[in-house]
């Protein structure tokens, strides 16, 4: 029973790790497309005297998706910009409790983020973007989508923090701090 549950956890863990990798790959592709669109816009303007009316909008939306999807991966990797100084000097138990508290706070915020994000995206359904002519629901959809993925990653982070009081992601806390 125990081995099957730990097997399940391992496969969930490897699924999340692959999901995180694929998200960064997708973001890399989105970034590359936006570079191509912008460069093509410049060339087309000077060679053919024609500007794509949708280029600026498409680039903005691609970068928004890239940023929000990768932000979820960076959350998974625990690499977001943080002021660590005081945290690193706190007693071990307090650090443990704080990390769990932060995981819960961020998770709760993400739930609200998903709810209000969906609400706003649906509200935008019948508004149309001027360049691409698409429903504004799609650009706004990046917010709840990133919220959902981030929440899944946050559950994993919480469980990992709960299980390993001395570790923060891949970093061993007590290697950095002398108590």
């Amino acid at each position: 029973m125990k081995s099957s549950s730990s097997g399940l956890l391992t496969s969930i863990g490897s699924f999340l790790s692959r999901l995180s990798d694929k998200l960064v790959l997708l973001s890399a592709i989105l970034l590359f497309i936006s570079v191509i669109v912008m460069t093509a816009l410049v060339f087309s303007r000077y060679l053919f005297k024609y500007s794509f009316p949708w280029a600026e909008e498409l680039t903005r939306y691609l970068i928004v998706y890239m940023a929000l999807l990768t932000a979820a991966t960076v959350t998974y990797e625990r690499e977001h910009i943080t002021v660590n100084y005081f945290f690193d000097h706190l007693p071990r138990l307090l650090r443990y409790v704080l990390r769990l508290f932060f995981d819960i706070c961020i998770f709760a915020t993400m739930l609200i983020w998903i709810f209000v994000g969906f609400d706003t995206a649906l509200f935008m359904e019948y508004m149309w973007s001027s360049g691409l002519g698409i429903s504004m629901m799609w650009p706004y959809f990046a917010i709840p989508l990133s919220g959902i993925i981030m929440s899944i990653f946050l559950i994993r982070n919480f469980l990992q923090d709960l299980k390993h009081p001395d570790r923060y992601g891949n970093k061993d806390l007590d290697l950095q701090v002398k108590e």
């Binding site: 940023a67 929000l68 932000a71 943080t82 002021v83 209000v116």
Partner: protein, 430 residues
Amino acid sequence: MTLGVFLLVFLAFLFLGMPVGFSMLISGFLYLLFSGDFMNLMMMPEKVFGGINVFVLTAIPFFMLAGDIMNRAGISDRLIQFSNIVIGRVRGGLAQVNVLASILFAGITGVALGDIAALGTIFIPSMEKQGYDKEFSAGVTAASSLVGPIIPPSTVIVLYAAVMKVSVGGMFLGAIIPGLLIGVADMGVVAAISSYRKYPKVVVKTTPKEFMFSLKDAFLAMLMPVIIIAGILSGMFTPTEAAAVSVFYSLIIGFIVYRSLKWKDLLASLKGAARSSAKLYLIIAGASVITWVFGAEQVPKVAENFFLSITTSKILLVLLVNAFFLFMGTWMDPGVSIILFAPILWPIAAKMGLNEIQFGIMLIINTNIGLCTPPVGNILFAITDLAKVDLFKVSKEVLPFLAFNLLIVLATGFIPELTLWLPRLFGIEV
């Protein structure tokens, strides 16, 4: 929720180690939740989306990408070789080469950490081999990397321009003189220390052919900021288009001219740029909520009254504002300081008679100093980790360089021509 409670919650989250972007989002959420008007909370996605869906900001991942591609294409080695031919023969030559390479490298990268990764691994071991103290080698590498975010292109300049709605071209031009001044000051410090400590003087043998090859490499690197700035100023490109063209240029250099770039390098650069910009975008998202709260609570007015209640003297106000940013810069990333505090303190700066470009460059150089100071200096940590040296000893070596940076910050605040002469020369109304 009052402003005081909001600030307390935000600062507690921030300094207790919650990621900066989440600290902003959560304290903003709490403020709106307790404001009693549920509609405010429903408007939050719009605010966040509006904050990150800004065309100028899309230049940031592009600039990050271009710098990284150039680096992977091997530009740093070539810039070092050129710098060595130019200045390697003086006393403390290799340390001077380190500074000159950083200045040239700043023209292709927009961040300081890129410089450390690209140049630190090469310089620190080779300087040590020539007889330089390891701490000094690490210190020079760290201090000279600070020109990276100042000499254009620069991601933090784009960020400031987006937040304050200032011309990116004007900011890029305005940053050139202070950036070069920092480079020259670094070289002066290196010369003084090298002559005091009798650091080595080596013979650099080069043939005219080698020099011409090296000059070509340096020219190709220097062409990138020229294309960016000239393109923006001539109205050929928007800043974002210029950034995309710089990526295109770096791909031509990497794949066609040097033939050293591989597809897997490009993929790694794309992933790296996506990661780095996502970190920044989360903070921009959080800041769009925070600035909304600040606006509702009239924080810029409160700050203005606070500073003006202390003094109305322009000199003291410039010193006070700089002291504030210097303090904040030691704790947080320059980008975070700029997003959070530049709009708040701008009204005071305007009252002091500062121009938006001048104010921006002053803040950027100022907050950059914090990258090299304890307790939270990213560059300092990166270099001590890379060189395996004592943080305190490196801090001591960096100190003379930082003192000159600080002088340049103050000069920027008091002498508008340093930042405004070039933009005016190119017809930008400032």
